[in-house]
Amino acid sequence: MSVVTLTIDEKIVSAQEGQTLLDVARENAIDIPTLCHLDGVSEAAACRLCLVEVVGTSRLLPACVTRAAEGMVVHTTTPKLVEYRRMILELFFTERNHVCSVCVANSACELQALAASQGMIHVRLDYLHPHLPVDTSHQQFGIDHNRCILCTRCVRACDEIEGAHTWDVAGRGIHSRVITDLAQPWGEATSCTSCGKCVQACPTGALFRQGSTVAEMQKDREQLAFLVRARKEKQWIS
């Protein structure tokens, strides 16, 4: 594979051809915020938090699926991007019901952490406050749709790592919802192996272990990347 040279935030970096901008940035300690990206599974480019500006392109491009190319000039934190990221976060907070103070994922949530790091200190838009269900029919786990941001990390982890494909997304636009099997209660989804990978993959408090109360749902996301690495590279020690 050939090596390309590009510039990210005034820094000249080299990359393998075909590597994503997100990958290259992280290798070079340049922080690009992400939510739907999860090490170990494919990209969905669903959250748009990783948008970057590439000189010569008027569109903003998601760094998680944009390939590094020779001579590219990339900016990751222009005022426009900062404002867009803040707006994206506000949309997440208004679309469902996020009440961090009483959430299982409080202090272990990627959405909550991003709001703080990206300066989303209040929400300028109106909250929609939809009425959404919580499914606790599974013996060990539960899903609270109030907290789901539709990143599809659970869908990809279940499909690609566990090979069960219990999860999928049904509906369109604002009515989209993650479902188990054919939109049955999770406890009746026979394809579910109860491995819990989706729970670990979920960036928010949407998927949780039953019995967790406020701030108890700590997640181990590295575990998934470790599993994938172990299988692919036969590397069983992290």
């Binding site: 961090c100 200190i121 009425h131």
Partner: protein, 180 residues
Amino acid sequence: MDKLKFATVWLGGCSGCHMSFLDLDEWLIELADRVELVYSPLMDAKKFPEDVDVVLVEGAVANQENEEMAHRLRKASRYVIAFGDCAVTGNVTALRNPLGLALEVLRPVYLENGDANPRLPDEKGIVPVLLDRVLPLHQVIPVDCYLPGCPPDAPRIRAVLQDLLDGKVPQLSVEQRYFG
């Protein structure tokens, strides 16, 4: 230098933010040297004064009384701080919003599950009328500063007040900006 006229207000919240304010412990003595407390649930003052420099507002806007108070304090204050998650986002106070408008929330509680004489709490002039939707403070009045947290811990409160005392625009660190 004249002392800053300082007030705190309690709208639709649990008073936890005010408890956290008391957690400032001995720094309160220092604060008392620099500000004059003119209105607060922690003191005996009946009316919100005409002229206030800085006001901490705890709680969301949940009923008509909260709404009137919000407008009154805005008119009389130079610098309004949304104090804690309920003021900033609606938080726990707004948990009722997904369940429907005021009547849809009151009905199951007071009528369907009320005991001997089920009736809605509607004593005019005594029980404030609920708004259909609980609102964060900035959706009712303009807010100058946001101090999140449920409750905001004492160091956060101190950081904001210290900056104001020093004549600076308050800046919270990333750790101090977390909701919850």
